[in-house]
Symmetry: C2
Subunit: 110 residues, 2 copies
DNA sequence: TCCTTTCATCGTATATTTGCGATAAGCAAT
DNA sequence: ATTGCTTATCGCAAATATACGATGAAAGGA
């Protein structure tokens, strides 16, 4: 394809898409579920409950952190992660402002 | 990587991830925005307001349809598409059941 | 000092996504 | 029948994503 055209869309569209991409893999959904249940936890606990290798889990954590969905700080030899709830709130607001306003107005059309 | 491990996660996690993947591209967010504004419209109208070729738009529409986010029926030489609001409602429910329950319980941790 | 534990990163292999031009398929009107 | 319009699909090229083993890095304890 040579050239990606993502930058030709609005910043809101790009931000929504970036958030969605961050949660577009079951492993990352599962990681977020674990973090939501325990409020926070270290990397090793996540690896234990996941059918993936340590390096793969670490990569998924990195992507979630890059997307701003989780916070993390390395604490000696351990790394502690937790969910960034503000980011989820922002996603909900943007998502709803795009779609929810029209939700009951529209009947099925085709 | 050789083997994908998506099937090792729960069906809810897979469904959420599949929905997120469908909206993980700005072009598809933009297409959904156009459909939400006009309630329904034909493929050509979408191509007109999009910085992408007809074949690329058609491919994005196909992915949205495969994911169940839009309905479409070909109507003579035209194709009419509209948003499947039930799918969005289901996504909202699943998404909130995963995360919203804990939203105000948790303070920032790290 | 050396070992152990914990986690991140590098390198690599494979799969999937993205994008477009070209072509086909379907229908309406001439 | 032929032409024109609209949309889907095919085939290709390039970029990204997914996954893992191996290797580093950082800190604590023997």
């Amino acid at each position: 394809m040579a050239i990606h055209k993502k930058e030709e869309f609005s910043t809101t569209e790009q931000a929504l898409a970036a958030f969605a991409k961050a949660i577009s893999h079951p492993a990352r959904i599962a990681i977020l579920g674990v973090l939501a249940q325990r409020n926070q936890c270290i990397c090793g606990e996540i690896v234990d409950v996941m059918p993936l290798s340590q390096s793969t889990v670490s990569q998924h954590l990195k992507e979630l952190k890059n997307a701003g969905l989780i916070n993390g700080e390395t604490d000696g030899p351990r790394s502690c992660y937790c969910i960034n709830w503000e980011a989820f709130e922002k996603f909900n607001v943007d998502f709803n402002s795009l779609f929810q306003q029209l939700r009951e107005v529209n009947a099925k059309c085709c």
